[in-house]
Symmetry: C2
Subunit: 451 residues, 2 copies
């Protein structure tokens, strides 16, 4: 086996530079047809993936671990409903996942745990020679990001961050339009996470959404851990849903890269106000100081001189919106008004058109082929596609379409935005996790209708 | 007459801190009823104001100057059509305006000339003891901004920048909603100037819009001068339409102020592409290097810890949009999808509502009273209101509702954004043109139905 650097050089020259791994080195050939999966974390998000995995004939769920009985029970209900064989169940505290990784019958793992556990679990999984699919946010510090890259390179094991919005039907149609040059040369893009999470960050300890203003040990599901990040951190805490699709459109890590970033944060009002409104000013949580500004705006500059704007807005009452905008020399798509304008093609000069007709016309081959399989899967079907991409890549023993460089590049926005804000709005340089290979790698994300 | 500082202290204490001028010191009392106006620049924009001024019985157009016969002819046509007395006409080259300022019968002047002439003309007019209304962009450098402030303070003569978007009907309804706390405490705002100016920046030298790719000496109207700024400068060249209304909503210079700013610019493609597309690659202008990035994004931080986002986007084919967003702890307005969401008041949780019903309900008293007078005036009626505010303030000998501090604070965004971009995306401090008085001044913009 060649060294990684040799391999990248060879494959880049051959025009297939996205592949990290020499094929055929991952698993035994005779096990190719069925992927043996382990689940680290079967909370509500893990259960989404589990349910989709159980639907498939090419996946065997070999083991599951969690730290909460209630989650394990719900997960087992899904297994029972599916009629599949009962997996190995591991409940052995926060480090129980290490026992799961010792299971030699597991080819690949899905990690769906609190953010602060992702890096440790990914590292351990790669070191245990598992193909890794991890929920979003892989690396909470730049050092963690580098460690993930180095470990993936050293072990030869891929890490795919399960960023699902790259597979949203309208987003993929726009990706097709970008690739067919409908927008011309890209100039400016926007995205973000504008989602009122008040009933996610707080609940009554028994239901996942709302009903109370508890979090941490007294909370349930995400409120148990996610809210604490709003207490301690000020930055764009959740950048990947916005940046993933935009990074693929602008060929980040594949001919382009992020060069620098700057973030500004507003005051913090929403979380405190909500506690007082729903729990009264004497509720103990009314004394908590939340560090997270209600809205964090981030500008990114790229090597190709595009700008990308990200908005993180999770503490205020508002309608949901990723807030996509894709603008080039020929035209523009905006998400919030569901509209597109293409110079010379739109019916009236300078007038928005309904975007849907464009989406229908440029529907991505993957959605044409698998749209009915994806129907009923989470988040409008995109959960089906992201899991499918992971499973198909793992079965074929190739690098996933969203690889470790993407995982850490997208996740690194959070610590970089925290630094920028802490330094009073200084622009900070973006690390090049590919170590120069971004100049040679090709964009093979969703180029066909395979996965 | 008290010194300015004493005066401001007194009036601030009396809750009328917006007034720069002791009343009754500007003009002779017996001329109060009719304002005697001079026009410096009667190009297309000057003619808009002229036409509205000629409609009024409380205005006498005393003199007009310009450097182009064609513009003077058009202006005289408007005068003739109105049946009003022929004003003094001055055509004496670029400095002819100084002769106009010598006319002692002129109380106030309207300046509508290229940006680079605004500061010199405003300074000369204030020194000549004229009440000054100047078209947008007053001060192209920070030094010019300061000189305008110092000269206004020294001479006691007000400068109103004629920023019309502050008077847009929907914008004023939102201002009313802000003041009635419908949005709660403001958190984040957006605006800008997203307007395809390709046919403004280039024309055939005889028509104002399009028909060719000429600019500078071979261009007509704005193409004669405005385009050159895109050759030489990279920044948010036109911030006032977006920031004016947002500044009034956030009480800038009246309890709040801009503290810092950062801008990122994209590559420059649109202007060159347009020249090649319409004029061919052998047209001499195809060799021009335009410094202005196609999209310039600026983030501003305020003393009250709001963030304001501005977008300057004038080189690409796109639908027009100022791109307003006003978001507080209770809800949000967005311009591009014409929608509002107010927590607990909107019909469905987390669902946008058509904004129009809200605009109708919170229609500003000024629009209720003068909507029919404004009908037919430029830019949907808002031109009527901004001129009316200038004329009524001048007649009453009081500080205008948008004063010199506003004029330079809004205009200063351009040179600050140029600096920020030149320094590679550094945040730059925002000057406090009020010298601390922002802490005490009150927001009296459009508080009643007078002007």
């Amino acid at each position: 086996m060649k060294s990684r650097r040799d391999f990248i050089k060879t494959t880049a020259a051959a025009g297939a530079g996205f592949t990290l791994l020499p094929s055929g080195t991952l698993f035994d050939k005779d096990k190719e047809s069925k992927l043996r999966l382990g689940f680290i974390g079967v909370g509500l998000r893990g259960q989404n993936h589990l349910e989709l995995a159980l639907r498939r004939n090419d996946v065997e769920v070999v083991a599951m671990c969690d730290i909460q009985q209630v989650m394990m029970d719900s997960a087992m209900e899904l297994v029972n409903k599916s009629g599949k064989t009962k997996p190995q169940l591991i409940m052995d505290g926060p480090l129980g996942y290490k026992r799961l990784l010792e299971n030699k019958d597991i080819d690949a793992v899905i990690i769906a745990t609190p953010w602060e556990w992702h890096t440790a679990m990914c590292l351990d999984a790669m070191n245990a020679k598992k193909y890794v699919g991890c929920e979003v946010i892989t690396g909470m510090t730049i050092e963690e990001c580098w460690e993930l890259v180095h470990t993936s390179e050293r072990t030869g094991m891929p890490l795919m961050m399960l960023e699902n919005v790259c597979y949203r039907r309208d987003v993929m149609a726009v990706l097709s339009m970008v690739r067919q040059n409908i927008f011309g040369e890209l100039i400016h893009l926007q995205g973000g996470y504008q989602h009122d999470l008040l009933e996610v960050k707080f609940n009554n300890g028994t239901q996942p959404y709302g009903g109370g203003v508890e979090f941490g040990e007294k909370g349930f599901s995400e409120a148990r851990w996610r809210t604490q990040h709003s207490v301690n951190r000020n930055g764009d805490l959740y950048p990947t849903h916005g940046i993933g699709p935009l990074a693929m459109m602008t060929n980040i890590n594949r001919g382009n890269r992020f060069t620098q970033l700057v973030s500004y944060a507003t005051k913090s009002r929403g979380l405190h106000n909500y506690i007082v409104k729903k729990g009264g000013e004497n509720h103990p949580n009314a004394k908590v100081n939340f560090k997270l500004g209600d809205i964090v705006t981030t500008m990114i500059h790229t090597a190709s001189e595009e700008t990308i704007l990200l908005q993180h807005d999770t503490n205020l009452p508002r309608p949901y919106s990723i807030g996509f905008r894709v603008q080039g020399t020929n035209g523009i798509w905006m998400d919030v008004n569901k509209s597109i304008y293409i110079d010379g093609q739109s019916k009236e000069a300078h007038r928005w058109e309904e975007a849907q007709a464009w989406f229908d016309r440029y529907d991505h081959p993957l959605w044409k082929k698998y749209g009915s399989d994806a129907a009923g899967a989470g988040h409008g079907g995109m959960d089906w596609f992201v899991l499918n991409a992971f499973i198909e890549s793992a079965k074929r023993k190739i690098a996933p379409p969203q690889d470790v460089y993407d995982a850490v590049t997208w996740s690194a926005i959070t610590p970089l935005s925290e630094s920028s804000i802490q330094m009073g709005g200084a622009s900070v340089e973006f690390p090049d996790f590919t170590k120069g290979q971004w100049m040679y790698r090709k964009n093979n994300f969703a180029i066909g209708d395979d996965y």
